[in-house]
Symmetry: C3
Subunit: 342 residues, 3 copies
């Protein structure tokens, strides 16, 4: 019997199946420091314990995307080791901050299965939940991937396509306990803009850009214990390139968005996302955002803003061509909710 993990194939998934992912992970101040080294992250709530306390938290939590990447990384050996494509995200909700010293684990429930017409692959939908050492859910999201079949002759399962919402409703967003922006220090945060200063449809060019390197994306991807070979091993692709983990682009774009969205402090919802084109070392990543919606919350001074975050390798205009396909310079099209001062 082989001792190594060959990953799951399409036939291995069943509707309702619960997969407990391996290797819990304690994350701490070291991961936070590395996050600041790997991305130009500057949102004050994650940069300063003092600022976080002035917002009612006990200290700076770990970046919301550290939680996302860590939970996502856990799922790779069971969900996407044999995946051909990462097709989408939906219904993502951050449910509790992750504090330095917390230990995260992850589990996924199979909620959808649909074999492709070619008979060689199928689409698997899973709802993944990350939990801390107290068993509290810190993050939940749906992801769907295209997975190879072990045996192309195997029967197709009955197709089940989950009914997913287009966007998390504002009332379903979780504001961390105690969070207040009532005494928000705009000068310390870096920008004066409140929720009311943003208009739906407004586009913000974040100006800054970063040319990415192999060492950086591999260090980041390893830090989240994401083991997908294609990120590390030049013999995996015919062109000898290492594909950059899509989450690296998400974090880079989110950090770049500080310039114009410095007060969009906490990510609380992930409505959808597409990795439009692959990213490789040497690419210069830029970002722009579009305001999609705004909402109130019950917490003092805390509003919510729904944003489209686009990463691209040039500042050429446009997102999709006339046939609805992403333009070649677009890397990421992400739709998320963040909390900012009302």
């Amino acid at each position: 019997m082989s001792k190594t993990n060959a990953g799951f194939f399409f036939e291995d998934y069943r509707i309702g199946q619960m997969i407990r992912h391996a290797v819990p992970r304690t994350v701490g101040q070291g991961e936070q420091a590395l996050y600041h080294a790997l991305y130009p992250a500057r949102h004050a709530l994650y940069s300063s314990d003092e600022f976080a306390r002035s917002c009612g938290l006990r200290s700076a939590p770990l970046d919301d995307l550290i939680a996302f990447h860590t939970v996502f990384g856990k799922t790779v050996p069971d969900i996407s080791l044999n995946a051909r494509a990462n097709l989408g995200y939906a219904e993502g909700r951050w449910l509790s901050p992750v504090w330095p010293g917390d230990t995260l684990r992850a589990e996924s429930e199979v909620i959808g299965l649909k074999q492709n017409s070619n008979g060689k692959t199928g689409v698997v939908w899973v709802r993944t939940t990350g939990r801390n050492q107290h068993g509290e859910a810190v993050l939940s999201y749906v992801r769907w991937v295209m997975v190879r079949k072990r045996d192309p002759q195997a029967d197709a399962p009955q197709a089940v396509v989950p009914d997913l919402v287009d966007a998390v409703a504002p009332g379903d967003l979780t504001v961390p306990r105690g969070l207040t922006f009532a005494n928000y220090d705009f000068a310390a945060a870096g920008e004066p803009h409140r929720l009311g200063d943003y208009s739906v449809g407004e586009i913000i060019d974040h100006i800054d850009a970063v040319t990415v390197e192999e060492a950086e994306h591999m260090m980041a991807t390893r830090l989240w214990q994401n083991t997908a070979k294609v990120h590390f091993d030049v013999t995996q692709r015919e062109d000898g390139k290492r594909l950059i983990y899509g989450g690296h682009v998400i974090s880079m774009a989110r950090a770049l968005s500080f310039n114009g969205l410095a007060n969009a402090q906490m990510i609380v919802g992930l409505n959808g996302g597409a990795h439009a084109n692959p990213c490789f070392a040497g690419d210069t990543v830029r970002a722009w955002s579009e305001v999609l919606d705004t909402a109130e919350t019950d917490a003092p001074g805390v509003g919510a803003i729904r944003l489209r975050l686009v990463a691209a390798t040039s500042d050429a205009p446009g997102l999709k061509d006339k046939d609805g396909r992403y333009l070649p310079h677009v890397l990421l099209d992400l739709d998320y909710w963040a909390l900012l001062p009302a």
Copy 2:
């Protein structure tokens, strides 16, 4: 109204203006670990809590240059985003160690303004102070930069050129409270040399060298939240090169200086400094030091040494040509005070 920061132009500064820089930063053991990964740092006081305790401190402080880079990084969006050149430093004093968990913020006072004769740029002098979460000053220094004018037709302000000392007087250096070298462990520190073993005019070749990489200098520069585009984005210069942050060269040279100056433990004064030539990835950085002065302090066994620290891309001799211009292989010419056993 644009949401993003365009930075200050020469006309935006006024004598006496106080600029409170954004985004306080909590620094900790993770930053210290990264510092040891990014530079060949070996000074025992920062490497070992036990050694620091034997010198009267509560634990190893964060490297003095972590304090400098963090404070400096805060000032970039307000001082040097539109700077053409970083012209000099003076009157730098480290006033209190930075401990893991401290939160640093920075503010600058404009103390000098002088428009250049071309009418397109001007020189701005600022005195920057870094403070911890208790409001205590941890670092203060003067920096001057050449900044572009937004409007070349704008009137020149009345020229004010601050009167800066050539070097911080020994009596103005701050020795950290409790510091003692009375029981200094030379074997643990790595070298036997006391203050009396160094002579003014003595030159020390630090022998070791490091060939620098893009991923390293970008990680370092991001860690200090320094956002100057030219360090990260290959589209910023016509030659497609990323300019390495001058502070990266300072830290590299200081770390290399361990070999011969292992006992020059704490940096307490910055008398001046010039980034003589730009540094790029692929350069091999070497360093040598010249002893400029020595002094006593009131603390037990603690002396002070004034050093010129030179970084260069080759071991060719010389610093300046006959016209007083830095030779092409010279990267850095720094003048600082350090504490070492008397």
Copy 3:
């Protein structure tokens, strides 16, 4: 007198000489985070405080190889600065876990000396011990290196070749106090294999591979304060290449071995090791293991497995040619003991 360290030459060593290595080092959660960024490390005992507690430990210790690299790095300025070759390891034993916040120091005793017949070099054997701030030994191993003579005309010392065991006897392995695998969570650890599932002679291909980068190996090597010039300075070799620290390859191969040996949690013995060929940036490192032996321990549910760990730059078969020389694609041949559930 030169202030810098020229290192020891062969004539400087005497049998029985005790060398106390400089610069104690406090290691913590930041180093652990960096370890996870630099290597694809996933063994649960080092990844999760919760998992470590379920095994009777107070928290996750620092990776065993952090202890090894830190202690090894301390010895470089005194043992291998003038070394031509790192010839072997033996009798390595991990004696106590290293916890975040511990301060490590190292000392070496010269236990063997033998001049080579060419008269220009000699072999030095040292037994190195790493200790924590309580004076407890955490690690002990024998290493031998070929060192240059300062003066080829100097007399040869009387040859003393130590008598070293081929492998640490199972009864000489130290199981950390309190360790138990009685309630081992195989699902959390990532694989179901117990000691009894492995057979002597079994070969495990770990499948995964990593293409290594300059920035990564230099950051790792600096983190352990290893100052050997050849790792950092392109002017040291005629081919302009930086030689990757052999320990970087050890850590990479060990981390890759998770896939098939996820339950080989703790390294407790180092029986031998050869750096078969040099490793350079751009190489793609793979690994395979051979089961050499198994043994029982007195701790609840804890068994020991003796493994050969081989790193190579391709998946070509074979280890040595018919003359007993390592094949060109082999980087490392390591022989170690690990603890895993019985």
